[in-house]
């Protein structure tokens, strides 16, 4: 073994060299650690608040909370629209090992359609695993009970209760109440356009038609916010605090739901409408349109087939006949025409003419027939209204001329929207020369004016307009907007809105009202009145006017025989009326399509409604609950 030459080492020097190097190294360590510490100081002390905010933004998410929708009551406190808890069957996929097996198992407790299962499986794929996914909506009580009992055997299955709108009177109020349903794309666009997107962030349903739509802003309330803690995947871990939503206002309607129900039953066999207004305010007490449909069916999404059935049904149940149905007013506007005749001094109370059963103009070959072939003999205005003489009004209309009639009736509100709190309203048609020119490009003929006197020709009205015009008549020209809403609750206080007025009808001599109102009294009370039979033996005194609207022209020499005319062309039965005669409280307008004679068909319905009213309301307008004591348990109160 060759020994290599080992240089002589200076151990002390080496050790001191290392000692120095070690100290330098420690110096470096301390320096770099100080750098770290300085950086940490910068992050944790200097920028603390900034990072704290960012940390909170990470974990805290603000979720909107939908306000509860305001309830709707009738004038007597009966609940018309409520929020009911409905139960959904939800599954959290994350907590389930074998989804198909679980669904099989669930079928022991609830019935599931293939569609529900397919929809469920689809949304499982598109959602986070920890998010509950609805398998079935609207569980019935039995299903809820069965699932609750077996919950331990069904991991990952939850029953979720949420509030959904419910209408206890279902189809009785649909046309006026409307309904809420899920916000669709168009609704969302409208909400966005009105800058309400934030307020609707958590809202599922919106009023689609009726009061629910018109008073949406009142009923909806204001969104609340919940701050929740989430993890990095967005899973909500807990609620931190809640800025509670402001619930929508509970509102009260002028509707008397019992009266509405009675009117609905009376209308059951007919297509048509009943409108009852508060004579003193124009408040809408009843607004029935028949046929009707279920409001509740729409809340949870109506099936396409059911909807298309409603849409295409011949009797058009979706139309609100009371506000959208446009009918010839027929003889129900004779008081209005008479008033105009008196006011323009064309006639006086005593002006007489002889009715021989038809009316003829010189130089015009056309003959306008009275509904009574033999004629009514000598008639004045009062009798002409009472017996509904046509000839008198043919002549009156001829002498008034269309321009004068148009001007006056327009002031009455015909041919225009009443302004009721419903978007579903038609304006009807009050014909004029200009209208005919625009519509048919034809001049207005004298012959067009004659039938206007008996509410035929091109004149159409809605039952609501008709009722509202009677309110104007009984208030000597004061005009009110018919309002369905009566007021809302502010805490425990009921705020009742003032009546909405319109510019009054101006007449030269207010005494003329007395003449036509007296004639309407006679129509229901004097021997020869067309409505007298229907109003025999009432405890109250009513006044009114019947009408029978022709839908087809009967030849000059032909006789109208109901049985010979196709059902949809048969006469409409009409009635307008009010009671009590002195100091009127309610006004009624009825239209029954193809039902025949107004006095025979429509007047009896009005009678029954008035009977109900006078049985349940004192003369100061106070309601007493006789009917409720008879075991009506439909509503609240």
């Amino acid at each position: 073994m060759v020994r290599r030459r080992i240089p002589i080492r200076d151990h002390a020097a080496e050790q001191s060299l290392f000692f120095r190097r070690g100290l330098v190294a420690i110096g470096i360590v301390v320096f770099f650690f100080s750098l770290l510490l300085f950086n940490m100081y910068y992050l944790q002390i200097v920028q603390f608040e900034d990072y704290q905010t960012r940390s909170n933004t990470n974990r805290i998410k603000v979720r909107p909370v939908a306000p509860n929708r305001g309830l709707i009551f009738d004038r007597n406190g009966k609940l018309l629209a409520e929020n009911r808890t409905v139960f959904n069957l939800d599954i959290i996929p994350e907590q389930v090992d074998d989804l198909p097996a679980l669904i099989n198992k669930l079928e022991q407790y609830v019935t599931l359609s293939d569609g529900q299962i397919t929809r469920f499986n689809r949304s499982v794929k598109h959602n986070r695993r920890f998010k509950p996914i609805t398998l079935k909506r609207g569980l019935n009580e039995e299903e809820v009970a069965k699932l609750s009992v077996n919950q331990t055997r069904l991991p990952g299955v939850t029953i979720d209760g949420r509030l959904a709108r419910h209408y206890p009177y279902d189809n009785i109020l649909t046309h006026l109440m409307g309904y809420v349903a899920r916000i669709n794309k168009r609704d969302a666009e409208k909400i966005a356009a009105s800058g309400e997107s934030a307020n609707y962030a958590a809202t599922r349903d919106i009023g689609k038609i009726g009061i629910e739509k018109y008073h949406e802003s009142l009923l909806h309330g204001n969104v609340g916010y919940e701050r929740v803690e989430v993890n990095n995947k967005g899973r909500v871990l807990r609620s931190l605090d809640l800025d509670a939503p402001t619930p929508g206002k509970n509102i009260t309607l002028n509707i008397d739901v019992d009266m509405q129900q009675i009117a609905s039953e009376l209308l059951d066999k007919f297509k048509g409408a009943v409108v009852v207004l508060d004579a003193k305010t124009g408040g809408v007490m009843t607004l029935v349109s028949n046929p009707t449909y279920s409001a509740n069916a729409f809340v949870n999404g109506i099936s396409t087939s059911d909807y298309s059935y409603l849409l295409n049904a011949k009797d058009r149940p979706l139309i609100n006949r009371a506000t959208q149905g446009q009918y010839p007013p027929a003889s129900t506007i004779k008081p209005h025409i008479g008033l105009l005749g008196l006011d323009r001094d064309i006639i006086t109370e005593t002006t007489r003419m002889y009715d021989q059963g038809s009316y003829k103009l010189t130089n015009v070959s056309h003959v306008w027939r009275d509904h009574l072939k033999t004629g009514h003999g000598w008639v004045n205005l009062t009798k002409s209204i009472e017996v509904s003489c046509d000839t008198f009004f043919y002549d009156l209309a001829y002498r008034l001329g269309i321009d004068s009639i148009n001007e006056f009736m327009t002031n009455f509100g015909f041919g225009d929207y009443t302004g009721i709190d419903l978007y579903e309203e038609s304006d009807g048609n009050m014909p004029s020369r200009g209208w005919k020119k625009a519509r048919f490009n034809q001049p207005w003929y004298i012959g067009d004016t004659i039938p206007v006197g008996i509410g035929q020709s091109y004149w159409t009205v809605t039952p609501l307009q008709l009722a509202d015009s009677i309110v104007t008549l009984v208030n000597n020209g004061d005009r009110y907007v018919p309002q369905i809403i009566r007021g809302h609750m502010e805490g425990d206080d009921q705020i009742i809105y003032d009546k909405k007025t319109l510019p009054p009808l101006t007449v030269n001599n207010p005494a003329n009202y007395e003449v036509v109102l007296d004639a309407m009294y006679g129509t229901l009370n004097r021997k020869h009145g067309t409505g007298t039979r229907a109003f025999r033996n009432t405890d109250y005194v009513a006044a009114g006017k019947t009408g029978t609207a022709q839908l087809i022209s009967i030849g000059e020499d032909d006789e109208y025989v109901e049985e010979e005319v196709a059902v949809h062309l048969r006469d409409n039965a009409m009635f307008v009326g009010y009671a009590p005669y002195e100091n009127p409280e309610i006004v009624i307008a009825i239209t029954l399509e193809n039902a025949g004679h107004g006095g025979a068909r429509a007047a009896p319905i009005a009678r029954k409604i008035m009977d109900y009213y006078f049985e349940h309301y004192d003369r100061d307008g106070k309601y007493h609950m006789k009917l409720a004591q008879h075991g009506d348990n439909n509503g609240g109160a």
Binding site: E14, Q15, F18, L36, M40, L43, I45, F48, N58, R59
Partner: protein, 373 residues
């Protein structure tokens, strides 16, 4: 030094079994600290703790064994140790197992292991052995040769690619040369070279993922949900900890899982979030204490091999800490370096404690060696 005199007079039991008590206590404190953080970062999962405790126990056994091996044996075997490890590193290139986009492992059938981890020990040993054969300070010739020792393994590791380990291995070698007394001229040359080389490395040598990390480091907000997500969430965790922290198990960034790799490489963010600036200060004090203790042991060693090896081991430990905290707090680009003795994970823990075992051997065997000579 008073302590030194005391030690020479009376040999304690700990000394007999070659355990340096202050160092051991510091290490145990740190580990205990680490376990609480892992428990919190793991969302209170005990299984994680059990596995980590098992690993720590195993690593402590290794430490104990390493402390018993005589220093002269290390010295004699170090070059072979280095060469075998180098062969294994080359083996990785041909027979290595891939995992996570990198080829770092050798599969022995029973277990996989990373030769690069072993190199963390083999490197300082070999450099210390080589340099201490000559009188110190070393001559330039030896420094240049030394650099050949230092350069080859990091290059191989870098190619795997594993920038973190390559850095650690390289720095352990460079530290050895520095501690051996490499002239300041060399030190400054290396410094300047590093500065010039950095952009070249970045553009021509670095892997795509590394370049991305550097870019992300320079501007994490550029892609806050993608590449920058880690570092942004990490800084939010640290910053929102504030002065006193959110409290143990109360860190929202970690508990709500916004923080990635929270019980491994990014555990320092959890630590800072929950213990705050005070905790961080304490932690750095602990690390400093360990480093000072390790350096003290090395300074007291009688032979140059022990001194250089011990100092190099303890400075590599420092690099661990600095690189990890630096990257987690956004001062350095993200390289895969765990926070020593705190991060959850096995391999690096074993090498680290093995290194401390060697350090303890140095600290407790030196006088025996000295007397026998």
């Amino acid at each position: 030094m008073a302590a030194l005199k005391f030690d020479t007079k009376k040999q304690s039991f700990a000394h007999t079994i070659h355990i340096d008590v202050p160092l051991l206590l510091l290490l145990l404190t740190l580990m205990l600290f680490g376990l609480t953080v892992i428990y919190s970062a793991g969302g209170g999962e005990l299984a994680l703790i059990k596995r980590q405790v098992t690993r720590l126990a195993f690593a402590m056994v290794i430490l104990f064994i390493m402390a018993q091996i005589p220093i002269h044996l290390y010295k004699r075997l170090s070059i072979y140790f280095y060469l075998v490890t180098l062969l294994l590193l080359i083996g990785v290139i041909f027979f290595g197992v891939k995992g996570g986009g990198a080829q770092r492992w050798l599969d022995l059938g029973v277990a996989r292991f990373q030769p690069s981890e072993i190199m963390k020990l083999a490197m300082p040993m070999a450099v210390a052995w080589y340099i201490s054969r000559f009188p110190l300070p070393p001559r330039s010739k030896h420094i240049v040769f030394g650099f050949i020792f230092v350069a080859i393994p990091p290059y191989l590791i870098f190619k795997q690619p594993d920038l973190g380990t390559a850095t650690l291995v390289a720095s352990s070698g460079v530290f050895a040369l520095f501690l051996a007394g490499m002239s300041w001229r060399f030190v400054s040359v290396i410094g300047v070279t590093a500065l010039i080389a950095a952009p070249i490395l970045f553009n021509f040598v670095m892997h795509g993922y590394m370049r991305q990390r550097v870019l992300t480091f320079l501007d994490p907000e550029k892609d806050p949900l993608g590449a920058g997500y880690h570092i942004i969430q990490s800084k939010i965790a640290i910053g929102s900890g504030g002065f006193s922290g959110k409290g143990w198990m109360q860190g929202t960034q970690s508990q709500l899982e916004f923080l990635p790799e929270r019980h491994t490489d990014f555990i320092f963010a959890v630590f800072s979030e929950e213990y705050g600036f005070t905790g961080v200060f304490l932690l750095l004090c602990l690390y400093t204490a360990i480093i000072v203790r390790g350096m003290t042991i090395s300074m007291r060693a009688q032979d140059p091999f022990s001194r250089v090896l011990g100092g190099s081991i303890i400075l590599t430990f420092f690099v661990y800490v600095f690189v990890n905290i630096g990257m987690v707090s956004g001062m350095l680009p993200v390289v895969g370096v765990p926070l020593p003795l705190i991060s959850y994970g096995g391999t690096s823990m074993v090498t680290l404690l093995a290194g401390f075992g060697v350090l303890m051997a140095i600290g407790t065997q030196q006088r025996i060696v000295a007397r026998n000579v």
